[in-house]
């Protein structure tokens, strides 16, 4: 096997690993990881139900109650006044993706504690590919959940156009990638399953509430300029806006750029963290091979 020189565009190590397997073998590996995550999801029906109950409660109870209190003026992408249920639906889609992303993080920590992660990490495929495959599996499951939620929301009067249902798919994919990559990165920092409760308190809730999921940013700015700044710095705001515009067959370019950039950042961090030569796991190894 020839060695790659420094001038080669692909790093030598990566090129060697790529040469080791054919494209169809990469697809076999990807399919295997997708099937495994799908089977795990089907085996945990309560996870699927709870992932739907949470946003549906917000839609049926919270939004119904606040409909009379909160008025949403005409702001893009809306061309008319909209009901509060319609306004918070993109945020609830984001909520499903957020919880699902964190769930995949929980699943990674669980796999690590139970030892299943080792079978993945000793695969001869490049580690970045294994992690991206795992990420794609998590995203596919998240998207499925969002579409089931949107189908139920349709009966509640939240009815985007057909184009909206189609065009929201790439937005959901990108948003799911970003949030699952964040989950993957967080999973490398959590040593024990018990520490996962901290994720709920310090990541999910702040990200969700300090965003445009529940209230338009102009309303937040009126009540608290500081909170408004926090919302603008919160990547979840851009997830929500990307989905909101996509549901109306439009692209919010700023949100798109932020989501793509954050995905690259979180995914790069996660790949580094799971790299035995550089990662957090490598630095935190403990006796008995329990990392």
């Amino acid at each position: 096997m020839k060695r790659h020189t420094a001038q080669t565009a692909i790093p030598a190590g990566l090129a060697e690993e790529l040469r080791g397997f054919r494209l169809d073998q990469y697809l076999v590996c990807l399919r295997g990881i997708l099937v495994r995550e799908g089977l795990r999801f089907l085996n945990q029906r309560e996870r699927f139900i709870s992932s739907l109950v949470r946003p549906l409660l917000w839609l049926f109870v919270f939004a119904a109650g606040f409909r009379q209190v909160l008025g949403v003026s005409i702001i893009p992408p809306y061309k008319t006044y909209v009901l509060y249920e319609v306004y918070i639906t993109p945020g609830l889609c984001g909520m499903i993706l957020l919880f699902s992303g964190m769930q995949s993080s929980l699943s990674m920590v669980y796999d690590r504690e139970m030892g299943n992660m080792r079978t993945l990490l000793v695969s001869p495929f490049p580690r970045w590919f294994l992690l991206v495959s795992k990420l794609l599996a998590g995203v596919a499951i998240s998207i499925l959940q969002v579409y089931v939620f949107l189908a139920i929301a349709w009966f509640w009067g939240v009815r985007p156009s057909l184009a909206g249902y189609v065009l929201v798919l790439p937005a959901l994919f990108l948003a799911g990638m970003m949030l699952c990559a964040l989950g993957l990165l967080l999973s490398s920092m959590i040593k024990q399953l018990e520490n996962f409760a901290g994720i709920m308190n310090f990541v999910i809730f702040p990200m969700y509430f300090a965003s445009s999921a529940l209230y338009p940013l102009w309303r937040i700015q009126e009540s608290s300029p500081l909170l408004h700044k926090i919302c603008l710095a919160n990547p979840f705001t851009y997830v929500v806006e990307l989905i909101r515009f996509a549901l109306y067959a439009q692209v919010d370019w700023k949100s798109l750029v932020v989501v793509v950039a954050c995905t690259a950042l979180f995914l790069g961090g996660a790949i580094l963290a799971y790299d035995p030569s550089r990662g957090l796991l490598g630095r935190r190894q403990d006796g008995g091979g329990n990392s």
Binding site: E17, D24, Y26, V35, R36, R118, V122, P124, G289
Partner: protein, 263 residues
């Protein structure tokens, strides 16, 4: 066996070559200048008490940890620089159970096959053959959760062999099993060495798992204190049996006779 290059055919490299490997967890030194190699087609026992560094060494060999000092080569492929090529030649049974309990035996094995790029059709044939080999054909569709400890080990061995690795590592594979299961697992592995020429590194602290014709590497507090054929290790430790030699090398009882190094 897969992936044997022309160069390997001409001059076969060691199945496993560990050279000057050291590893520490912060201030705690786990391995110090560990060196040994395994000749292809042999059953090698890595003997060491709990805490001797066996699992750390396995984690380094399987690239779960990065080798910072020294080098590890599997059939000539450096685990740090060419991990993909090295891992393709390696089958591993970890000390901790690593089956997904919610999936069936077939689903667990099929998942592993895909992690090695083996397509569904080929995987199905290999799974059927391997389950017959470990006498577990009738549990194909059972959930892993429903298996006993010994049965799980058999499945894990079948899984480690799915991609036909020429080198098999087993880390305390018989811990927690009853005497009969232990004997059966050992018989399966020794059978692989005899019939398929698979190289095996069997880590254990159970001295009665060592047989006279085995190669032995004794690890004590992170250092290789003996390495060679059983009779060489016994002789150089000035002992009369491998039990006595291991006890002496691990500092459990004093040995009166002249004890040279077996390394």
């Amino acid at each position: 066996m897969q992936h044997v290059t022309e160069r390997e055919r001409m001059c076969p490299p060691a199945a496993l070559d560990v050279s000057g490997v050291s590893h520490s967890y912060g201030q705690k030194q786990a391995l110090t200048e560990v060196s040994f190699s395994i000749t292809p087609g042999l059953f090698t026992v890595l003997l060491g008490l709990n805490g001797a560094g066996k699992t750390t060494l396995f984690s380094l060999i399987s690239h779960l940890y990065n080798t910072r000092h020294g080098s590890i080569r599997i059939f000539g492929h450096d685990i740090s620089r060419r991990s993909g090529e090295a891992l393709r030649r390696l089958g591993i049974v970890f000390q901790a159970r690593t089956l997904d309990l919610d999936l069936s035996v077939y689903q667990n094995l099929s998942y592993h096959a895909s992690l090695h790029g083996i397509g569904r059709r080929a995987a199905r044939v290999r799974i059927a053959n391997l389950l017959a080999q470990v006498d577990m054909t009738n549990r194909l569709n059972d959930k892993a959760r429903s298996l006993s400890g010994g049965q799980m080990r058999r499945i894990e061995i079948a899984r480690a062999l799915l991609h036909r690795p020429p080198l098999l590592l087993l880390d305390e594979a018989t811990v927690g099993l009853d005497i009969q299961s232990r004997a059966e697992i050992l018989a399966i592995i020794r059978g692989l060495v005899a019939t398929d020429g698979t190289s095996v590194l069997w880590a254990t602290h159970l001295i009665d798992e060592v047989e006279d014709e085995d190669q032995v590497v004794v690890l004590d507090r992170g250092k290789v204190v003996a390495n060679g054929r059983v009779d060489d290790v016994v002789r150089s430790a000035g002992a009369i049996s491998i039990h006595q030699a291991f006890a002496a090398l691990a500092g459990l009882v004093p040995v009166q006779a002249d004890k040279g190094s077996a390394i």
